[in-house]
Symmetry: C2
Subunit: 471 residues, 2 copies
């Protein structure tokens, strides 16, 4: 019964692949998960081959993440040679390791042979040295050399992400020759959007987009239509930098060259899109005070990745506590101060976070530079003053009414103005300072900003109160 | 003198365009800015034509953002017809409006005619209705119809972002016919990576990648090599959803179809990359409590965009203040409580933010769904307990030594454990709840989470202290 269900599932696929395994929220459909789970349980390889093996790599990836952890390896084993290793490039690192570590090297080698080099590298780089060597040893020579070359480049460099398969022709070829070559050549990349022009030593001379070739007469020489590639990517370039090149110049793919300007591979936009995602992820998580942890991490590694941040925060929290300690006498005489002081601090913390978020993001997207920094600082100061006045008045009235003491209202209002200005300045100056010092502003900004706003808030409020009421 | 400098600048451009206008930090070079500024001042159109007009659209965009606000319009005016309107798609919305609003509609219309439809729409959609109509009226009929069609689709829909220029052929054509057609056709899109196959009513039948055409014999029929496009994008689809399709299936471009499955345009990866950026930006800014404000916004609109958030925070801050108010008696008797209570609250706030950040991000990237939610919740609870115990012990010892009162140390330790668990649960449950309710978890999560941790922190600490010391 499952099998028939499976078969009409297949018949249904071409016309509505999307609707097939996902529900409207984009989650893998429950009934499909149940079917797969059952099939894994009774080792129904036929069903799995027919319904899972044929899915798109990213769909298999989502499926692997959705099923029970203990079912993952079983699924891969049952699919055997029908399992598309590319799917492993679509899952969390933790899940990938867990699966790859337990797959026999022979099977990995066999599968790797089928992959584009960039996907192969993506999987190989996670393996420990000896496993990797054992797998590489089992690959055909040219394949092995290509992958070694890519793996020799530093982690998260363009060289690691590049695809070593590409089409390159000499400048004196005609468009006709080039087209005929591509018609006859068996071993072309899986898909490509431009071809490269090189000299006999593989030095990169230029590139031609495929549409350019298609709109040109056969007898035209390649050198006549090739454009100098203004943005060849050095293999050592950091992937983030490469991604910025792609975004700025709307590239679909870019030549990757070694230190001698020789063409070694091609970087494609789909890899770059992944990079853009990773970078955004990093920024968000760092702002939130979590390292590069993944959803599939276990309790211990999660605790570890968050510990340092919390420890630092404990230190800064005690700093602001000791500021309060300076005024314990005043608080004893006027308990309302203890009740109101967190409000001043928390408003400052929020305003500061707002400014900091904008600053950090502007720095990440390079919208903020030395030329407009001055203007932005003035703007944020202005915002701080305005918000300060507004919320000072609101809070002043509330506090005054709450404790039937309008002098107290005046005190908290004054403290509020001071703290919101401090917040604005800390929110923009601290990230800029960290950036100047070469640190990533996203990492530490928020802890510093809130330290400033907490201490300033408590000190301003309690200090002014102590002075004004002479306590 | 500036001009000669300008000329050798031009001679320098082809081989190192990058190095040309940017310094190593990726900022527009100061000396270049100075030259441009001076040229604008003495209306040196020759220099500007030679050095600015030839830059890449995104470089002109960066330049417009880097120069003094009052110079921007002047630069555009001086460049006249040599100004590449596409550059306006690369600058902040505020700057784009400021420039476009002051350009004569005639000039805009002339420039718009030169643009790809997606760029034209990008600029037209910001204009107020009458200006837009006046400009459209000055465009050739077909152009006008195309743009109208795109503008009729809802904001930030695929239809708005699509390019209405594309190459489409009937299925019975041969590869040879297709190539010849592209060779002879004058009016092809600026660049494209696939051609579409349609029936006489423009119904989408399939697509063929250009590399596929190039590796196929001339006499082969298109229908033999075309693949059914599994992922045509409905014109009404939200651009974010469309972007997810691109990412999941590694698309370079996708057909955009109307409700009748008729091909109306093509969505390209470069637009999608921009969308991915906007979405990441949105998430980061919302988590930081700032609306979709831009760096070029002025003080007032910035104050406006942050006001609501601060107001809500004021409310929640007063809520936690009133929790403290419940225990003013205890604080009066034991002032140390006032000093220590912010530590408990702030640790909870940080731990909660950590969990919330991971949850919100996981929801945004669809990594978190009903199938693994249970596991993640258990993990976060575990993390909360572990961190709770660790920091409870640390804080207990510190507080005990600080105030020479180890009972107080025990009290704060207990409160810490409770608050870090509350933080973990709030951090994951609140975003999930908001998501279930169809709200964007990024928007309101952090204010709710910190409310929970502040109130829990103060209540647990002061409550336990009051009970334990019987005050």
């Amino acid at each position: 019964m499952t099998t028939t269900d499976g078969e009409d599932r297949i018949r249904r696929r071409p016309d509505d692949e999307e609707a097939d395994i996902y529900d409207e929220d984009g989650n893998v459909r429950g009934d499909f998960l149940a079917l797969v789970g059952a099939a894994i349980a009774d080792r129904d390889t036929l069903f799995l081959r027919q319904n899972v093996a044929r899915l798109h790599e990213s769909e298999i990836g989502d499926l692997l993440e959705a099923i029970q952890p203990d079912q993952r390896l079983a699924l891969v084993r049952l699919l055997g040679d029908d399992f598309d290793m590319t799917a492993l490039t679509e899952v969390d690192e933790a899940i990938r390791r867990e699966i790859v570590d337990q797959m026999p090297n022979a099977q990995i080698a066999a599968a790797i042979g089928e992959l584009d080099s960039d996907d192969a590298v993506y999987i190989l780089e996670d393996l420990d040295k000896e496993d990797r060597e054992e797998i590489l040893a089992q690959l055909p020579f040219t394949e092995r050399v290509r992958l070694r070359r890519a793996l020799d480049y530093p982690e998260s460099s363009a060289g690691r992400r590049m695809q070593t398969e590409f089409v390159a022709v000499p400048p004196f070829w005609t468009v006709g020759q080039t087209i005929d070559y591509m018609r006859d050549e068996e071993d072309l990349p899986y898909s490509f959007s431009q071809i490269f022009v090189i000299d006999p030593t593989f030095k990169l001379l230029g590139a031609v987009d495929l549409d350019q070739i298609l709109r040109t007469k056969r007898q035209t020489k390649i050198e006549q239509i090739m454009r100098e590639t203004n943005h060849p990517v050095p293999a050592e370039m950091d992937q983030e930098e490469a991604a910025q090149l792609f975004e700025q110049y709307d590239l679909l793919s870019a030549a990757v060259v070694d230190e001698n300007g020789r063409l070694v591979g091609v970087l494609t936009i789909d890899d770059v899109v992944d990079v853009i995602h990773e970078e955004a992820d990093e920024d968000i998580k760092r702002l939130g005070g979590v390292g590069d942890e993944e959803l599939s991490d276990n309790v211990l590694s999660t605790v570890r990745s968050r510990f340092l941040w919390l420890l630092i925060n404990l230190g800064t929290a005690m700093l602001s506590a000791s500021v309060i300690g300076l005024f314990d006498g005043s608080i004893e005489k006027m308990i309302a101060l203890a009740v109101l002081m967190p409000i001043v601090a928390s408003m400052g913390g929020n305003a500061g976070t707002q400014t900091m978020t904008v600053t950090v993001r502007a720095l990440a997207t390079r919208d903020l530079d030395i030329y407009n920094a001055g203007r932005i600082i003035r703007r944020e100061a202005g915002v701080g003053v305005l918000n300060g006045i507004v919320f000072a008045s609101i809070m002043g009235v509330i506090a005054g009414t709450w404790f039937h003491d309008y002098q107290l209202g005046g005190v908290i209002a004054a403290a509020m103005v001071i703290n919101l200005m401090a917040a604005a300045l800390a929110g923009i100056l601290l990230p800029l300072l960290l950036d100047k010092m070469g640190a990533d502003p996203a990492i530490a900004s928020s802890v510093f900003v809130t330290t400033v706003t907490d201490c300033t808030g408590f000190f301003a409020f309690l200090g002014i109160a102590t002075w004004w009421f002479g306590i």
